[in-house]
């Protein structure tokens, strides 16, 4: 099989080369993944915290429902729900751009997994930490804000790293509602040029590179926030 990399220097018919197009698609991928990450970590931390509240069974139940709901429906179906079904049921959403809807879909989907990690992280803390904070006169909110969450986040950094890499990879599903990201580019450019192998190789490399960058950034953060003498065992798990 002969590879012809010059395809990337060819004009795609709108005045830009396929290389330019791919870089733009890459920016879309990063934009989708980055925005979704903010949504996912915010909602995940919130819901994960709710699930560990000691005296609020209804809040715990609410957060459990959240996790089960977003964890047991395939991401692609969730994206279709946000993109097609939500605007139909709530007409106000018809004005919301598709990009934002996909960010909600991907963000909430991932938030369920992060909520699981946050809960596990908080529950991994010795009970004494909570009691010590309460004995110092902290309110529940202060206990979480100043004592438990900072520790829990350090504990869950390794699984959070792989979940963030998953999020980046999962952003590829956005092709299904025509977000102009890398996978969409791969499919369209393959069709236009019939140079699928070169295009797919380049796109695959872009994904691998981006995932690797995420990995490096997180290990940097891990080193930065490390508490001397506090060792965290790495966690492994399934998932994509």
């Amino acid at each position: 099989m002969n590879l012809d990399w010059q395809i990337f220097l060819t004009d795609d018919g709108s005045g830009r080369t396929y290389f330019d197009w791919m870089l733009e698609a890459w920016r879309w991928t990063l934009a989708v993944a980055g925005s979704s990450w903010v949504v996912a970590v915010t909602m995940g931390a919130f819901m994960g915290t709710l699930r560990t509240l000691p005296n609020s069974p209804w809040l715990v139940r609410l957060a459990n429902v959240w996790v089960e709901l977003f964890r047991n429906i395939p991401l692609l179906v969730q994206i279709f729900l946000w993109y097609f079904v939500v605007p139909k049921i709530f007409p106000a959403f018809q004005q919301v751009p598709g990009f934002v809807l996909v960010v909600f879909a991907l963000g909430f989907f991932t938030s369920a997994r992060i909520a699981e990690q946050v809960r596990a992280g908080i529950q991994a803390l010795p009970k004494g930490q909570r009691y010590a904070a309460l004995a110092m006169g902290f309110t529940t909110a202060q206990t979480y804000r100043y004592v438990m969450l900072p520790m829990a986040f350090r504990i869950i950094l390794p699984p959070l790293t792989s979940e963030s890499m998953n999020l980046l990879k999962n952003s590829s599903v956005a092709f299904a509602v025509s977000i102009a990201e890398l996978t969409m580019f791969a499919m369209q450019a393959q069709e236009e040029t019939s140079r699928g192998v070169e295009i797919y190789l380049a796109v695959t490399a872009m994904y691998a590179l981006s995932a690797f960058a995420v990995n490096r950034v997180f290990s940097l953060i891990e080193k930065k926030v490390q508490i001397p003498g506090f060792v965290v065992a790495g966690a492994t798990g399934g998932g994509h």
């Binding site: 890499m165 393959q190 695959t204 691998a208």
Partner: protein, 222 residues
């Protein structure tokens, strides 16, 4: 309700559109799980073999697969299969091959963790009894590793089942496609997506409930 019309939803519709897709999704899940566990276990054994020429290729394979989005892997195989085999193959067959190859990487990580969870003493005991490497793995280590990892393996299967919906990228006829086609024909695409979500949720929630029970059961035995 909410401007939705679910009147097209009946047994006739399920039988005509959804059943075929459902059967394919289940087949894909089962074949990919079994194939993934077999090849994944082999990969795990390679990575733990201590032989450089076995460890290295297995590690590269697993890490490459795990750093590529599944959608891209599905597209890759659909593109390359005709070159490799010499003739075009259907989207369904391509999907089955893709999922076995892809999931093997994930299952191998689970099996590797499972094998490493077995106490070293077990291996030494097997060796002391005069077992060969193969016997030791087959009779002592793998059965226990498999058992320890059973809940994780099932959880991965549930994730796998959800991921089968991604064959949408190459147009294979799966559960989701069944609903999509029905929605198109009856002019109710939004309702069809909603129903698909409910069906996926019920299946996955029920399965994860079963896994939770299994986990409790295994924990008691130990």
């Amino acid at each position: 309700m909410f401007g939705l019309d679910l009147s097209f939803f009946d047994l006739e519709m399920l039988r005509k559109f959804v059943l075929q897709g459902f059967i394919f999704s289940v087949q894909l899940t089962v074949i990919a799980t079994l194939g993934g566990i077999v090849f994944g276990t082999l990969l795990a054994l390679m990575r733990l073999s201590g032989q450089k020429w076995l460890m290295w290729p297995a590690a590269v394979y697993v890490n490459v697969m795990r750093s590529i989005p599944l959608v891209m892997v599905i597209l890759w195989f659909y593109l390359l299969m005709p070159f490799l085999i010499g003739r075009p193959i259907g989207a369904e067959l391509s999907a089955v091959i893709t999922f076995v190859v892809f999931e093997a990487a994930y299952f191998s990580e689970i099996m590797r963790a499972g094998i490493q969870s077995i106490a070293r003493g077990q291996v030494f005991a097997g060796q002391a009894l005069g077992m060969t490497y193969g016997q030791n793995m087959r009779l002592v280590v793998l059965p226990q590793a498999f058992r320890n990892m059973l809940p994780v393996l099932f959880t991965q299967t549930i994730i796998l089942f959800q991921d089968t919906s991604l064959v949408y990228a190459i147009g294979a006829y799966d559960l989701l496609k069944g609903f999509t086609n029905a929605g198109k024909l009856y002019g109710r695409p939004e309702e069809a997506y909603l129903l698909a979500a409910v069906v996926y949720f019920v299946i996955c929630y029920a399965l994860s409930w079963l896994v939770k029970r299994l986990q409790a059961k295994i924990a008691i035995v130990r």
